[in-house]
Amino acid sequence: MTASSQTVVAAPQRPFRDEAQVETIACPSCGGPITRGAFGTVEKIVCPYCGSELSPSDSGALALLLEVRRQQRPSALPLHARGTLDGATWEVVGIVWREVTADGTTFPWQEFLLYNPYLGYRFLLFFVYDRHWAIGRPLDGAPEIGMFFSRKVAKFGGKRYRHFQTSLARVTYVEGEFPWQIRAGDQAVAHDYVAPPFGLSVEETHDENGADIAYTAMEHLEGDAVWKAFARSGRPPNPVGVGPLRPNRWKQGAGVTWVSCALLLVLWVAISIGYTASRDAVVVFEGRSAITEPLTQEIDLGPAGDVTAVSVEFSAQPLSNAWAYADVLLVPHDRDEAIGVGVEADEWHGVDGGESWTEGSSHNTVTIGGVPTGSYTLQITPQAGEGTSTTPPVGLTYAVVIRRDVVLARYIVLPLLVIILVPLLLWSFGLMVEAQRWKNSDYAPSS
């Protein structure tokens, strides 16, 4: 820089052209080394060692605001730890412990003030009580607070956040540097809105010179992500419960589930129609006789070389505290292996303790599948008895109807159950997780 040719003057002082340096200053109270990692942005320094509150004076020296003797408390991350989040480097320059009290229970959390000289500040939150993590970024604007179906909501950037809770947050412990005045005991009313894994925090502060509202966009972070970002060794603390912002894993991919459900239902209708249309349930035998008389007949189960499902419908009457049974034997004409199935009917009634009762059924159907088609000799051998006897009641008759190529409703119902119940089950799991989440909100069902 050359001075003017007419006037000789000193070279200008332009301190901000020089690189800003990280200073280490001894705490005027305890002498501990305080690293000024946040350069000049700082309004308040709390000595990590003794807790004394310091303020940088205009000359750069630290003015002692409040002398304290307290132990440094261990936080989930140490002061001056550096990590990579949102694709940028951040340094923990301040640590605040805060808590809220609800229904006599205290919920503490730790806030790590992250600093990058070119990007400003972020807030990393560790919820001590359930060990979840979240990151807060200053919101780029003001959300619109309103009602949605009688629920208080905040709308911003096309997203709707539901009001979760409003609480009075207290500062209980401070260490490090802050760009605003902060001290233990500070209180702020915080309104939390959630749309997991995102949230909105609205904090209102009043002081003698004015008032402001700070809007912060929150996002759930997994402990593993924090550990990786800050290159911590070991494993992060295991989280418990749902937390206000943790994504509901049962709600993830719900769209895929329901679209799949719709497509599978279409497929199910098509296949069901195809199946029922191909079955004509032809009656191949119909006979009636006294219970003492066997029946026999040649029957045809369709062209040989296939298999089919055959139903045997059996009824006996009049049955009164009696049973009837038929041994149905199919003897093939072209093979050795015969097929047999038993079918029974019964009827029991009585009076027990003044209550009359009946049970049993005088009409039953048994279905057998995998029956080879072809010609058979059918033989039906009936039995019956009254009570426990094997003597058939007088006048009892029985009837048998045999059909081939029958429609089996169970094969139609089974896929329908799978297709509908699985999404309903996933949906109800999601509801249970949400119920657990909202149990800790201002909207918990009153206990």
Partner: protein
């Protein structure tokens, strides 16, 4: 996003639909298993037809 639960859902659903489309006409899986075995002609007739009884004594079990 596709998750394991979707794949399980598809496998179960398509499996049960395949059962409906391919196995339901045979009907062997979801029905009563009948007795199967050799029969022989017993003594006597019913209305002129021979009476069959299970071969090898009373048992007529299994597939």
């Amino acid at each position: 996003m596709i998750r394991v639960r979707h794949v399980v859902y598809w496998v179960l659903s398509l499996g049960s639909l395949a059962l409906l489309g391919l196995e339901a006409p045979n009907g062997a899986l979801l029905t009563t298993t009948p007795d199967r075995g050799q029969v022989e002609k017993g003594t006597g007739t019913v209305r002129g037809a021979p009476i069959f009884i299970w071969a090898g004594g009373g048992y007529h079990g299994g597939k």
